[in-house]
Symmetry: C3
Subunit: 204 residues, 3 copies
């Protein structure tokens, strides 16, 4: 129940972020809807395709389509008020990537893939909806540009799950801890401006 | 027979639209060929991937590759004359999206998916080749920008199919009617400039 | 053993080309890693998805992830020295597309697809990692623009394989010859500036 509620809040946060990017590009209603949809389910869809879980998730569980549709209508109507919700949106998005990371890791485990591949799938689930959103909006994906760490928190969260189970922590607790790791790291990253090391020489 | 003829005409129309966009971008021969190909089979390929129908359609039925190849050669040679064919091309494209929509809906039904998912698959089949074409050409997809309704006519056509079968219209007639609905709506949209409602405030 | 060594060298060459493109776009460490990864495994992944070979190759054989990771670290550290390696990189890339082409052709044969589809799959395996790389970097794919023939050499190499086996050349020799055809054609193309015929009118 809690799990499902968080899942839906994460989907809502991703959909709203899609609406905001799409509206900045002045797309029409259909474009906004598709971008919101892709942002929310793109990562999980790519993961399902790569593993071979077809028909992909959102086709068999209608909850996602309905949730996203409602979120889009809401976001378009209240677009001017959304700036006051920035903190809530950050919260949903952060919980969302934490949860999506572990959903991806779990799907990888079900397919009996190696830990490093599971971590890649978790990160993909959490982050690649945004990558496809940015590709469709003709932008270089935001998570490839140097801002506070985002995808990296998913990688570390996923890794912490395997570390904890390796240390004999029961799976359930490792699972929840990993979600917390993602959420905590992402929050700290934004609070303290933590970025990946710069790989470019400083310009004179 | 009629069905197949229309299918081929639709494929030709999509391929030619790909050639025109690619040549506007001054791509080379290989680039033009790939863009034409992707425009014609991209939507159906994405649909097949999401459902899990692999190897995807154009790999097992060679007709598409041959048709597209001939269309590309034709289009490159007669590119200057194509402007006189604009009306025919509009006709083919419109018949094409009508037919492709119902092909997609049918594939969804075969996979026992919910009506709303089938409608999404139909719209994807008809419209997402153009989306991939625009992504490859480094443009924001045309159907996300506000012009006469296009994808929306596919959604309404797909919905009309389910409405008609729900009203006990025999499947065959519902199928044909739905194709007609798409064609009629798209024609009306272009004739009367029907667009989706504007979701942006008017600028002062 | 030789086969595997070449495969790894090809992967390294593709990964390094990804790093160079990504660093030109000033992406951050994570972005560079993903672009390198996608460049190296994107073509094979797309091929596996279209055929239905899931989980896709790099998920079950960890060699690719490890190789790419090491290549990226190496490339970032020695980025300024890489210009002195341009000739080696060209060599690896050329051997890489030769080998990848035939890997793709073979996967098509295993799936019992028609020769023309196998050639398409081979070309995709060799060239489409670069296409996805360019899409993610917000560029029109390099191989669609008119420079020395690249994808075309893969098509001709793949075709030569089927010609040779049709002429009763033993499969093994046809396979190796086809790789040589790609390598030779690509080398000649760069040495003599061989391009596809221009499909545009000369501008006055």
């Amino acid at each position: 129940m809690l799990y499902q509620t968080i899942d839906i809040l994460g989907t809502v946060a991703f959909a709203i972020s899609g609406v905001l990017v799409a509206m900045e590009k002045r797309l029409d209603l259909f474009g906004v809807l598709i971008i919101a949809f892709v942002t929310a389910i793109g990562g999980g869809t790519l993961r399902d395709l790569l593993i071979g879980n077809t028909p992909v998730g959102w086709m068999t569980d209608i909850t996602y389509m309905v949730t996203i549709f409602i979120a889009v209508v809401f976001a378009i109507i209240f677009v001017n008020q959304l700036k006051y919700l920035r903190r809530s949106l950050f919260l949903f998005d952060t919980i969302g990537i934490g949860l999506y990371t572990m959903v991806g890791v779990e799907k990888g485990l079900e397919a009996e893939l190696l830990p490093v591949v599971c971590i890649a799938l978790g990160t993909m689930t959490a982050c690649f909806g945004g990558v496809i959103r940015d590709m469709l909006c003709n932008e270089i994906p935001m998570i490839f540009r140097r801002t506070e760490i985002y995808a990296t928190t998913c990688i570390l969260g996923g890794a912490s799950y395997f570390l904890l189970t390796w240390l004999s922590v029961p799976e359930k607790y490792a699972y929840l801890s990993a979600i917390m790791v993602v959420i905590a790291l992402r929050t700290l990253a934004v609070l303290f401006g933590i970025r990946l090391p710069n790989i470019y020489k400083k310009e004179a």
